[in-house]
């Protein structure tokens, strides 16, 4: 039973799912102290549904993973059927009912890293593709489907998604850090053409992104059936969690948007959702 989760959610919530997560990870050596000291509990865990931990590690590698899975399967004893507690809807991070989910990708297409040939790890970071999701509420979806770009969606795209998330979690842009955010829809033969200009600046321009947007949006009554959008611009700077192998100086950052296919993985919450209310507010 493969499961994937963002540990922020579980480390910060006092609900059945958070309690269950803490019960599991504290069986791993040193993790009780890790939670107390707010160090990371990230890693891989193999457990039974009662929460008994069979194995855990935090090193990547396919061979190691296969070995661990084989070891556990040889000794695994499934508990008799229990009942998982109800999810706490107050902190539910599922997309709101009737909303549109859009896949978001980030890639650095041009940067000057200096003359040295990158090692394998550096190359992986430089070539990496960032992934995230954008949520558009039912009401916002209907507005876009009828040819208007809501300010709330433009701001959400700017604050949470026009960012360098190719090497991990960047800090989101605060509302006052939006210098410019103009996005508009114009009729196009098949739907609407989206164009826009966005400028974002944090600190004394220590982190900065100036981008243009272009895209094609199609709709069927109140539904969005196509959301193909590209943002391209000059970025500089990094956050505390994205400084490793960050390009020095200015670089070209491209962000791509495409409607997400149906399925469980598409319900992965956007990185900026620490609680859905804040993400969907402005």
């Amino acid at each position: 039973m493969p499961a994937a989760t963002d540990i922020w959610f579980f480390e910060h919530t006092r609900d059945p799912s958070g309690d269950f997560y803490r019960k599991v990870v504290t069986q791993r050596e040193g993790m009780e102290e890790a939670i107390e000291s707010k160090n990371t509990t990230q890693g891989f865990y193999i457990l039974d549904p009662d929460g008994k931990l069979y194995s855990s590690w935090n090193k990547r590698g396919g061979e190691l993973l296969k070995t661990k899975l084989k070891e556990v399967l040889q000794k695994y004893k499934a508990p008799s059927h229990g009942k998982a507690e109800e999810y706490n809807s107050r902190i539910d991070r599922r997309p709101p009912k009737g909303s549109t989910v859009v896949e978001v990708y980030a890639k650095i297409t041009d940067a000057d890293y200096g003359g040295n040939e990158p090692n394998i790890e550096q190359k992986a970071y430089r070539d990496s593709l960032g992934r995230d999701h954008l949520w558009i509420t039912k009401a916002e979806t209907a507005t876009i489907a009828h040819g208007k770009m809501p300010k709330s969606v433009a701001n959400r795209i700017a604050r949470y998604h026009l960012n360098d998330f190719t090497r991990g979690e960047p800090p989101i842009w605060n509302l006052p850090e939006i210098v410019q955010c103009d996005m508009r829809l114009e009729p196009d033969p098949k739907g609407y053409k989206l164009t826009g200009e966005v400028e974002l600046a944090a600190g004394n321009h220590e982190r900065h992104y100036s981008a243009k947007l272009y895209g094609l949006i199609e709709s069927d009554r109140d539904r969005i059936t196509r959301f193909d959008v590209i943002a391209k611009g000059v970025f500089n700077g990094h956050g505390a969690h994205t400084k490793v192998y960050a390009p020095p100086g200015d670089f070209t950052l491209v962000i791509g948007f495409k409607l997400a296919p149906p399925g469980e993985a598409s319900e992965t919450p956007p990185e900026g959702v620490t609680d859905a209310g804040g993400y969907l507010k402005e």
Binding site: D6, S17, F44, P49, A78, H81, D110, D228, V234
Partner: protein, 90 residues
């Protein structure tokens, strides 16, 4: 002659300043050429055409749902837990 040289120097300084605004240390970083053709080229380059192998795994993103299915299937839970969602922004 001196005036002509001065003009050339001023033009060069101005051109350098314009390049700096647009490109800075990255040299060729650009944002001013995004039209229909560039859009199509970048869209084809950035957006993956097919699912990658890890995406074909039927991940559960709700831990309590994963527990229910684990009880029913009698199979253990393999949990991938990260700072930042493993299926999203990491």
């Amino acid at each position: 002659m001196i005036a002509r040289h001065s003009l050339q120097i001023i033009i060069l300084i101005f051109a350098a300043a314009v390049c700096r605004q647009d490109g800075g240390k990255g040299g060729t970083a650009k944002s001013d050429d995004l039209g229909p053709q560039e859009f199509k080229k970048l869209f084809d380059k950035i957006i993956p055409k097919a699912q990658e192998r890890w995406q074909k795994i039927p991940w559960r993103i709700d831990l309590l749902e994963a527990r229910e299915v684990s009880y029913q299937s009698k199979k253990p839970i393999f949990l991938w837990a990260m700072n930042g969602h493993p299926l999203g922004c990491t």
